[in-house]
């Protein structure tokens, strides 16, 4: 079946449908990770976006029951060069195509994804529409233009959990899969705010020794503090941090009271809560190969990233300093509060997909909580 991807600026890509048929729209972004499409698909941060994988052979390892990062699929479209229906992997249980169909995600394959990537790189991320019903170019471009901009949208409340829950699963390994960790062995009580949290963050926290309670995005700070946690975690999530004014307000209430660790959207929200500003990047960073320098150790770590906004360091004045730096574009990759046990990173130390170089950050958070307890 024919499918068309139309961008708001009028660029058209004709390809073939895979996954669900129909029509979908969203901000078109690219991801340069060569492995981990299943994790990308299940990452809530992609809410409202259509993801094009720059690697060309997608579907090779099918879908397995383990490599999932949330309760569902949140992205609105999936764009690849060549979808391979004949998967091969000992853990696979179904094909990517069936998975997308089952979850109603519209896909397009057979397009020049490199041309698309270059286009997004040069023109900036923009909205688009994939359709198998409407094949009229002008009509599709008009639809793409009608898609609201990501800036100013509150997407987190659409992906967060309904109510608090407890998490006890640790990180995966080949022999044992995901271990269920006995809560009695977990020493640090952490309240994790879910703005679209990836499961692997929770697993990393558990494996680092945290007893984790996940709470919805709008969970009042007072109630969180009433749980008497050792630390507060602020998760990743989709879109623009700015409209989440209420959340920022709540975060501010933790400052000076508890150690705080934020990742991605959580990092941006922390930056805003500390009085800083965020800026929208031209096309963001989405991949698994990005070099980041830890300003504490001087080591470079290869990181997984997925963000379109960044914290503006200058706007934070003397409240916080640079904790991590992105070596590719020199953007702020992490901040550290100058006086308090508060820090955050823009990239994804939980990886999944991506390298495990930054997983030490969970240990750093635990150390912070340990220190603070004394």
């Amino acid at each position: 079946m024919k499918a068309i991807l139309a961008l708001a600026d009028g660029r058209i890509f004709e390809g073939k449908s895979f996954g669900a048929a129909g029509e979908a729209s969203g901000e078109v972004v690219f991801n340069t990770a060569m492995t981990g499409y299943q994790e990308v698909l299940t990452d809530p941060s992609y809410k409202g976006q259509m993801v094009t994988m720059t690697y060309t052979q997608i579907g090779n390892t099918g879908i397995n029951p383990e490599d999932i990062e949330s309760r569902g699929l949140f992205l609105s479209g999936f764009i690849v060069k060549e979808y391979q229906d004949c998967y091969s992997n000992w853990r696979a249980t179904m094909s990517l195509d069936s998975y997308l169909k089952e979850n109603g995600v519209v896909g397009i394959q057979g397009i020049d994804t490199r041309a698309l990537t270059r286009h997004l790189r040069d023109k900036g991320a923009q909205n688009g529409v994939i359709s198998t019903n409407d094949l009229d170019h002008a009509s599709l471009v008009a639809k793409a233009r009608a898609v609201p901009s990501m800036a100013g949208l509150d997407l987190a409340s659409g992906v967060t959990c309904d109510k608090p829950y407890h998490w006890t699963q640790g990180v995966w390994d080949l022999e044992g899969g995901y271990p269920q960790v006995d809560p009695a062995t977990l020493k640090y009580k952490v309240v994790a705010y879910d703005f679209g949290i990836k499961y692997n963050i929770l697993r990393c926290l558990v494996s680092a020794g945290c007893d984790v309670t996940v709470v919805p995005a709008n969970f009042p700070a007072e109630e969180a503090l009433a749980m008497n946690p050792d630390g507060i975690f602020l998760s990743n999530g989709p879109g623009d941090p700015e409209p989440l004014v209420g959340v920022q307000e709540e975060i501010r209430k933790f400052v000076g009271k508890k150690p705080v660790f934020g990742i991605c959207l959580g990092h941006q929200l922390l930056g805003l809560a500390l009085g800083g500003k965020t800026v929208k990047l031209p096309f963001g960073n989405h991949g698994s190969n990005l070099p980041v320098k830890d300003m504490v150790s001087g080591q470079v770590e290869i990181t997984s990233q997925n963000h379109g906004f960044a914290v503006d360091l200058d706007s934070l004045g003397t409240v916080a300093c640079l904790g991590h730096e992105n070596l590719n574009d020199q953007t702020v990759e992490g901040i550290r509060h100058c006086d308090l046990p508060i820090f955050s990173v823009q990239h994804h130390p939980e990886a999944s997909p991506g390298p495990h170089d930054s997983q030490y950050l969970f240990g750093r958070f635990v150390d912070m909580m340990k220190q603070h307890r004394k």
Partner: protein
Amino acid sequence: MPKRTDLKKILIIGAGPIVIGQACEFDYSGTQACKALKEEGFEVVLLNSNPATIMTDPDFADRTYVEPVTPEMLAKIIEKERPDAVLPTLGGQTALNTAVAVAEMGVLEKFGVELIGAKLPAIKKAEDRTLFKAAMEKIGLGIPRSGFAHNYQEAMEVVRHVGFPAIIRPSFTLGGTGGGIAYNMEEYEKMVMAGIEASPTDEVLVEESVIGWKEYELEVMRDTADNVVIICSIENFDPMGVHTGDSITVAPAQTLTDKEYQILRDASLAIIREIGVDTGGSNIQFGINPRDGRLVVIEMNPRVSRSSALASKATGFPIAKIAAKLAVGYRLDEIINDITRETPACFEPTIDYVVTKIPRFTFEKFPAADATLTTQMKSVGEVMAIGRTFKESFQKALRSLEIGSAGFESRLFDLTSETRRALTAKEQQLLFEKLRTPNCDRVWFLGDALRSGMSVDEIFKVTNIDPWFLHNIRQIIEKEESLKGLAPAGITADILREAKQYGFSDKFLGKLWGMTDEAVRQLRLSLGVTPVFKRVDTCAAEFVAYTPYLYSTYEEECEADVSDRKKVIILGGGPNRIGQGIEFDYCCVHGVFALAADGYETIMVNCNPETVSTDYDTSDRLYFEPLTYEDVLSIVDVEKPTGVIVQFGGQTPLKLAVALEKAGVPIIGTSPDSIDRAEDRERFQEMLHKLGLKQPENGTARSFEEAEAVADRIGYPVVVRPSYVLGGRAMEIVYDVDNLRRYMHTAVQASPEHPILIDKFLDEAIEIDVDALCDGTDVIIGGIMEHIEEAGIHSGDSACSLPPYSISAEVEAEIRRQTVLMALELNVKGLMNVQYALKDGVIYILEVNPRASRTSPFVSKATGRPLAKIAASIMGGRSLQEQGITSDIKVKHVAVKESVFPFVKFPGVDTLLGPEMKSTGEVMGIDENFAKAFAKAQIGAGTRLPMEGKVFISVKDADKKHLTAIARNLHNTGFQLVATRGTASYLREKGVEVQTVNKVLEGRPHIVDSIKNGEIVMVINTTHGAQAVADSFSIRRETLIHGITYFTTVAAARAAVDAILAKRREGLDVKPLQDYLA
């Protein structure tokens, strides 16, 4: 940490001659290292015996030692140069072993020299199997069950615990030499003892078989600050059991989820840290059980490897260059990525295409060799292709191989007429055998397996090739089915484009449609189906790429972004194979350098990932593409070059010349017509006649009857060969009519389109090679080389001396005169090579090649005159006069080239030389006289020159008269002589003292017993006639296995004895090329 300031002078060790397992990838890495260190202001000293390398060009290092890469020579150089550091990680296993040896000799300590890149303990930990095993256990990584054996008894104990099949890996050998897989006790006993023999430390590792497991490689880099990055992941198409150098490999890994890939990545980081490789690149190999994902570490190379070269070409990340910079103290985040210009080298390349590497084999050269692929490497080269999908990339790689393949040809079906059908029982059996046992044809049989209706599951069960790959091939074969039989009228643009996206070549489509490739091309162009060119940029387009490193594909957007400068395309040589190797790449690279200096934009086209020519840094623009008519024309269509050069890349581009010219491509340099005049027997004869020059009597035959008539007319022995071949493919000396008949039956199959050439064989003639330059007006003789071995041994296999060492000044003058005459007559623009034979004072012309020759780099190194550069400038329009080249160079030193052979990798193959080329590489020995230069050439080629002991002599009757002086010399120097009955009595008659020993058939103890007992230090064995050759085969084979010095021609033996005498008398000293050429 920035660059170290305590280091001023650094010695880089090269890899020496090209051998199986160690090819021109180490010229690529060494050249990058030299460039990088010179750029950083270090004084660079280089040791490499291989004259055909770019790195040994005198301007790439400050002091270039073209000397044998041995611990003794390295020690001398260190003593003389007193470098601050030695960098041993860029010259393959040879460099590493040599560095370890000098370290252990105490030389480094004595002169206060530091090993940089990898320290001795790290090298030991990675290379010594016991230490490696302990290291892996320490970091909790699994390795296959294994144990060491140093003798028969230990070997028996080990295998009891390891079980069958057992893998045998000798310690410290190249490309797994002497290794193998034993399925039963009988095989095991044989292999394990051969392995112990092959190992310099008399040690083998016997390992649990993980045959059939998935195999992966990761290329890892680490800096002084312990930053580690993965440059590339590679998945082997051929599962475990086939040496990775012989496996088809694909980048990136295709069948791992992120979780599984990260296990490999974490393991790689842990390994490079635990082994303690300070800086630079390492290659780590893993096996994964396809059923449950269990991981085992196979091995780690603490140095830049063949896979690093592949990874560099596959990603655009220059591993060797960065490794050199890291070795002198830089951190990864302090080095800028050349391609993006704004991001640091501290990242992990991500690619948006698929890379396929396919090895190139030359089993046709060694019919007696076992063509089964095992853990011992047997391929001599490789090709790489880039496509947006695996299917496209794989089919492009197939047609890059230069073996006449245009895609998935069938071995069992007629693709033009037959539809799918069941196989006969015999075909079925052949197919099953070809699938089950890894071999270099297996890929094509996979196609046939699918055509015969086998399912992917069934094929997987037989081959263990991952179903993902098999499904892709199935899709190609299904596409072939759907394309077959389409009438031209039914071929639409959409159909054609999709076929091209699957990687189908015009030629293969032509076969399916009964059209020529040109007709398919025309149809394709008329339908507007043309390729676009995309860039290799390390980052999947995330950043702007500044380096035009391009590959073709069939998609929307073209990134070629061509200039309107005056520009020249240089066509490369394709995969290394016997007869066409690094020498031609050297010429291509020189062509690029010269034309760039002359103001041209230079564009390189090649598909060999091992080479310097495919470094994106070499030319202005690089097209990593197959060297076929179709692919070259597509580039020409886009680039619209001022000129295209076909005479540097050997036979590969040369055979495209006529067709390209016909298609309107501006071929510059010597015209294709002149090339044809030199290649075409009749036209060539007319020319010689016109010029009054002689050639051996000859004739042409298209059938046995014609051949017999020619041979009767000119008289036996005759040299027979197919026309248009390189490296003496299928060339033989035939002594009688029976052998002529046998030959005509095999040879005619070898080249059906071309007739067989028959020449009178000039027995005992001296062969002379000449390389000359001509601009159409003037001729310069680049060098005259006298072969050591007599005519009849392929010139590529023969040792040779520059200047000649035995011919008279008159003969030399006459050779010059004849060379000039022919160069002008052929209107050569560039290089020309002539092979002469001198017999009884008469000069015969054997062959004229108006193109770069295999000897061009050797002559350039020996004389200091860069022939290929000058030739390129001629082609670009600058005359010899304008270049200031007005007279021949007379050298005061002597340079000897010696060839290096792969016999040790091919059990069962005889070591006798003949008209068919068998060598893989060459070395140069340079010194003040012939004997010393020859000695160095021998040592450089791996031949030990014994200083005392027992020499075994057995020569054919015709050689006996030459033997007396040699034997007397040896005897007088204190060697004991033993000989077979005939040779012994001849020598005794001449008054030389000699013992007699039994031939093998004469009863025991015989000569092979003596060899096995280590009583013999050198063997001189010449033989003639099928029976005698067969009878003496075991002597040569045992000699080879035991690493005993041997000579199979009297000429070489004579030179060697002179060399031994000279070495005993004066010893050998080292001197850099710059001093010789000053």
